[in-house]
Each structure stands twice: as C-alpha cells, then as structure tokens.
Symmetry: C2
Subunit: 444 residues, 2 copies
C-alpha cells in the first residue's frame, strides 16, 4: 500500500492491494445480513427492513408507466417522439420527476421547494453518497451521526473516507447536549464538522421519533454551529393508523440548514431504485456565480450514474399521478398492515417476557418497521447464526449500527414483511433462544 | 479548506467549502455538453453520442418485462410470488441478469465467464467508479488512459481523487511504446500504476480501433507490468455492415488482466441505465479466503446504489431473450443506419473539403458513431457557441477529452441520431463555419 512502486500480479490480487475500507465491517454488514437469510431460507425472518409484499402487482408497472407518459403528453405538451425520447434516451441529470416530487412534498409534507433544488437519485443511497462526496474536501471534514446509525450512511461515508463521529441518541432520538459537545470537541481537535445525519421519524434501527421541541432545537443548533442536517425520511409516512404525524425538519427549515434525503423504496417499491434529495442551499462559485447545491451534486451524479433511469422514474411518477401526488393516500393499506403487525409484535413480546426482573425490555414505537429488544447478554453475529440454525428465526444484531468493538446487548425486529402467524411463531422461537441464553425456562 | 476549524454558514455555501473537483473542467464537461444543446434546440446536432431513436417503442418495455418474468418462471422455476419479489423488492447486489449476460458474452463475443464474476451496474459509469474506488488505496495509485479519453472515465477518477496519466494513442489506438514509458516513468516517480483504461473498438471520441497484433501486445505488456486493463466496449457491436469484428481484449485474456466494462446503452437503450462489469480476478483477503474481484466491487456497490433496478434489468433481459441472447442480432437495423450514416458523413466531408492544402482532415472509422475532423485552428467552447448561435450546428470540441490547458485543433462529429438530410445540412453549416474561420470561400 502507500507509496510502494512494487509490481503487482494484476490477475491475482489480495485485499491489501485494494481500497482499505473493503476490510471494514461497515462495508460487510449489508452483504452479511443478506447472505445469512439466503443460507437459512426456512427461518422466519424478523430481520429484513423491507416493505410488505402482498400488494405487489406486475400489471401495475405498465399502468404506471403509461400514466406518466400521458402526463408528459397532456400536462406538459410533449409530442409522442419526445415521450419516447424521455423514456429511452439519455436525459436530464437531475431527473424528470422533479415537478411531481415537489407536488408530493407539498401535499404530504407541507414542504414547499423549487423543483430545480431536487436531484432524483438511484435510491436514497446514492443521495447520501452525493452529499458526502460534496462535503468532504479533505481529511479534516467529518460527519456526525446519531447512534445507532443506519449502515448505509456509514458505508457511504467510508467510500469518501469521511469519519463519522457518533452522537448519543438519548430517549428522544438525538441527545442535543451530546451533539453540541461533540461538535465542539471535534473543532477543538482541528476537525471541521460539516453535517449531522439524522432520521427523525421511526428511525432505522431504533424506531424512535423526535418530538417537535427537539426538532426546533436541533434546527437552531445546526444554524448556530454552521453545520448542515442530513434528514433521512424513509418511514415518515408510516405512523400507526391513529397516530399524528410530526413535521419533518425540512418543513420547519427556515435557514436552509436541511438537505432532505427522500426514498421511494418503502412508499412505491424498492425495485425502482429511485430516491431523491432536496438541496436548496445557495452556492457561490469562484467566479461569483450563484446556483444551488443541487446543481453541484448533479455534477457528481453525472460522473457516478449519469442519470436515474427515466423508466423507473416514470413508474414512480405514475403511482404519484394515480394518487393525486399523495403517497400517504397510496399507502393506506400498507400502513394498516404495519400498524397491526407492530401492535401484535409488541403485545407478543409483553406476553412472552412478562417479568421485568428478567432484564428483557423493548421499545414501543408509534410507527415505522422496527422494534428494538434489549437483553442482558451480548448479541453478536455468532448468536444470530445459532438463532437461525437451531431456533429457525432471523433478526438483526444491533451492533451493526454502532462503531465496531463495543459489545451491544440488543437486537432489532422488523414487522413489515411477515404475516400474523409468522410473528407469533417467530416470537416463540426468539423467546426460546432468549430463555435458553438466560438458562431459564419460559414461564407459563 | 484543509484543517480549518472555521464555522460555516451552512445554509449559504461557496464552492471553496465543497469538494475541489467540483471546479474541475472534467466534472463540468458532461453538463456543458448537455446544456448547450438545450440552449440551441433548433441547431442540427452532430454532437450527441446517442443511439438512433427511430426504433424506440413504448410497447416493447412491457413486452420485454413479461418475457423476463416468463423466463424466471419457466427456465428458473420461480413461483409467481418469487417473480413479483424479484422485480419489486430489494435484491441481489450483483444483479439478477448475470446468467443472461454470460450467455450474451458467449454468443456475441466468444467470452466464457462465470456468471458470479459479473456485477450488474447502474450503467457503465457506475462500473468505472466501482473499479477505480477499489484500486485507489492511497495517493500513489494512478490510472493510465489512452488520450483522447472518454470524459466519464476522467470524471469517475476525479471522484476517487485518482490521477489519470495520459498515454498517446498513435494511429493504432494505443501507442504501446508510450504506454511502457509512462508506466516506468510513473514507477520512477514513486507512483503505482494500477490499470490502463482503453476502448479498443471504435473508441469514443477517436473512432479508432486496435488491430489484433496490438491487442495481443497490450495484453502481454499488462501482464508483464502487473497492471489491469479496463476494457470499455460500448460500440463493439457496431462495425460497418460488411466489416469484420475483432476479438475483445477479454476474449483474448488468458491471465485475467482484463476487467471488462459492458454497456447496454447503445445495444438496448440508454434509459435502462443498466451496464455491467466482468471482474474474474481472484482476490485473497487478510484471513486467506479467496473470492472474486466482482465480490469486492459488489461490497462497494452495496453502499453506493444497493442494487441495480431489477425492473430495468428485466427489460434488458427480455430483449436478450427475444433475440436468442444476441445483441448483434437485436441491432441489425441500427447497425445498418450507423453504417449508412457514417459513410454519408465521410463522403460529405470529402465533397466539402476536397483540397488537402486547406489543412482540414478527418479519419475514416470502420464502425461506431464518431468521426474526428482536424482543422488548422484551435477548437474551443467559444467556437462551438458561435457555431450553434450563428451557423446552427452543434458538434463536440475535442479538448474535453484531453488534459486541460493544451490547445486542441479537432472536433468530433457523431452520425448516430441524425437523418440523411440532417447530415447534409449539418455538414453544409459546418463547412461554412470552417471556411469562415479560414477566411476563405467554400469552393464550388
């Protein structure tokens, strides 16, 4: 590595000759979690953060596509040749769905945004990469992220070699005092905190949401400290059926401190691999020209993926058009499933772990996909392997969402792609594992 | 920049606070070239390296999709629920098209490859990024690239901060003596050349192809010098109708020195944003486990775009299945158009610039999309702007494909998306511009 001039055997490599982060646990998490489910196909999976599958219909794809084409012709005045060119040819780097996304954000989130500030991306994952690549100018630039942190954020940061400094979550989602201390400690160490990554609604993996007062205080702190907030919002449309939604940070953002990261994976379908970002921050270049951060990010995108497939954008567009721009409306059935499933899961945990003296506890989120179970023993991948092989149940070890090396005593359960019967059977299996670990018999 | 602890005004940035490459001409080329065509929509464009549009059919998308679904059910034994899950849900990081791509490479290219060595990517652009990110371990790692170089390669290298050392093209596509000198000079300077990027067939932008002897010599040199060859092959299926195709480097690769970069943009459609790479190099990790370079690249992909849309993969898959895995067969009509168009363009240049004393010359490629015209004056973007505004014709200034700062006296013409009438009118306009620049009247 480093400045060696050694001649390699190019056709036969070892990882020491490749990017160092390839040996980093963060880059292996995603693959490990996928790989274990494929090795135990008969285990009940309470692991995957995937949307419910029962409403998927192959026929809808062509219907959405044609609905978007009609929109191009009837609403935007495209000729048939222009419609074909839009779908088949290379296209606008920032995407062709910006108008409909702006309409959706106004309708579902009360966010008013210039469509030119939107970049349609290859899923939210690419959006994270674009922002981090733009913000990382050198080794002193660092990112803050609320711990536990979504592994995709950590992985994207590794790709641009940007350190991620952990911030405590506290009971409210972000420990704001800790955030302030971390920012100041980083500055004192000669580092430049550029942004803080946060998932304010039904976070992955914690399930926790921030309250309104904390949202406002976080915005004020970011503005005062001169850092951006990267707001990731994949689950915000899934509060339980009778719960109120809270405004996103972006809806409350008066000083443009928020870059909003949007995903259609849970609200349309993961298979479109279509997400977006809103980056309405003005940027002045060396010549004094003013533009938007979105345009800078679009330059990076042009060299990463050129543009997001207009075909998958059209599918999302058709779904938005069929639902009057509202994904909240489009997901009523899905939301009912997630509500029922999570309530059943929480009730099932209460029934199986009635004794507080056991040291087994769990949170009770009011939306999203995830419940975190805390246990009085370390939860690592070896335990997961045993759980899959000997007990037939999969879940996610929470240590993947923390810095490596710290023992973590918690696991994440997902309620989004299972049936009521699978929830009961999965919890039975999990309870057997936990009581066996504790050396106790399950009561009752 | 660097180690400053300054507090920024996060909601109001300037480019000095962003990734330095954003001010690099390489990152602006793609956007500049798109933007000028949108500002002069009435100009005849001999600029865009885009496939012919006349065969695009919206109906084909659903037909391809259903053909691929039938393949999953009938050939691979998927249940209807598994088919829906494959299209709609998160999926395999390396993609679901690997079997069909391997069949296509065997059929059209005589390349025999393990499907596990294939990573399906978001266009060839992502494939370039994945390879460069993996090979860049530190500041001493450098890439070599034949000049003039495709701007997308230069841009991807900028994103990972990997220097690109230019190699002379010579008349045969790669000046192999210059390549050897450059490798040795780099080593003498303490650098570590990791790979050489080359487009052996009908290169963008030069139009030039390597002969068989040079291909073999390049492979031997790469193996001897311990560098990989990154073979980019977007135009290889488009030799003129009566021309012989030559074997790709990958087809001749006996020592796994070639990482093959595949694109479906010209052979299926750009709108699918689906490409792939073949990376069958064995890699040994720190624990002594052996795998394929493809698996290392897939870890990077999992943190960049998660996976390529299975819907767009299905569309490509359907087109492959409809054509017995042959894209050569699928593109017979397209190939006839490109052949006729380029021959007309070359004849049109001969008719308009008959006097060799003028100093205007052009190459005569035997396939692909591009002809390079060399003129006795500098060709810059200001001249292109004048050409668009005053003469109504667009082309591409060749300086975008060279290191900045060197005056370039050439322009690239593309024959792929124009009608015969547009070729004649476009060349008339170009000839007026050239003769005006030379201060001469056009003869005849």
């Amino acid at each position: 590595m480093s400045a060696t001039a050694d001649r390699l055997h190019a056709g036969e490599l070892d990882t020491a000759e490749l990017f160092g982060a390839l040996e980093d646990p963060a880059l292996n998490s995603m693959n490990f979690l996928n790989e274990i489910s494929s090795r135990y196909p008969d285990a009940i999976s309470l692991a995957a953060g995937r949307p419910v599958e029962q409403f998927f219909e192959i026929d809808s794809l062509d219907r959405y596509l044609r609905r978007f084409c009609r929109h191009l012709e009837e609403d935007l005045g495209y000729s048939p040749a222009e419609v074909r060119r839009t779908l088949f040819q290379y296209g606008r780097t920032k995407g062709v769905l910006h108008g409909l996304i702006a309409a959706n954000l106004a309708r579902d989130e009360g966010i008013s945004v210039d469509p030119e500030a939107i970049v349609v991306t290859v899923g939210c994952q690419e959006a994270m990469f674009l922002v981090l690549r733009a913000l990382r100018t050198g080794p002193s630039d660092v990112l803050l992220a609320v711990t536990p942190t979504y592994v995709g954020l950590t992985g994207a940061a590794r790709l641009v070699e940007m350190p991620v400094l952990p911030v405590a979550a506290g009971p409210g989602g972000v420990d704001l005092d800790d955030l302030e201390r971390r920012i100041r400690a980083a500055r004192a160490a000669g580092l430049r905190p550029r942004a803080c990554y946060v998932m304010p609604d039904f976070a992955n993996p914690s399930g926790v949401s921030m309250d309104l007062a904390d949202r406002r205080r976080l915005l004020a702190m970011a503005a005062a400290e001169g850092i951006l907030l990267l707001e990731d919002n994949p689950y915000g449309l899934f509060p339980h059926a009778d719960e109120q939604r809270r405004p996103t940070l972006k809806a409350l953002d008066e000083q443009r401190t928020v870059v909003y990261l949007g995903s259609f994976a849970k609200t349309a379908m993961p298979g479109v691999r279509t997400g977006y970002l809103v980056a309405d921050q003005p940027v002045t270049d060396a010549a004094g020209n003013r533009g938007l951060l979105a345009d800078q990010l679009s330059k990076i995108k042009s060299m990463l993926t050129v543009n997001t497939s207009p075909i998958t954008q059209a599918i999302v567009g058709g779904k938005l058009l069929e639902n009057d721009h509202s994904l909240l409306r489009a997901n009523e059935r899905e939301r009912a499933v997630y509500t029922a499933n999570m309530r059943q899961m929480v009730a099932g945990l209460a029934a199986r772990f009635p004794d507080p003296g056991l040291g087994v506890s769990y949170n009770v989120p009011v939306g999203g996909f995830f419940v975190v179970v805390t246990v009085p023993f370390e939860v690592d991948d070896a335990l997961l392997e045993r759980s899959a092989a000997d007990y037939g149940v999969l879940w996610t070890a929470m240590h993947h969402f923390y810095e490596p090396g710290v023992p973590v005593h918690a696991l994440r359960l997902s309620c989004s792609t299972v049936t009521p019967e699978q929830i009961e059977a999965g919890l039975d299996r999990l309870a057997r594992l936990v009581y066996d670990q504790l050396g106790q018999h399950r009561p009752g």
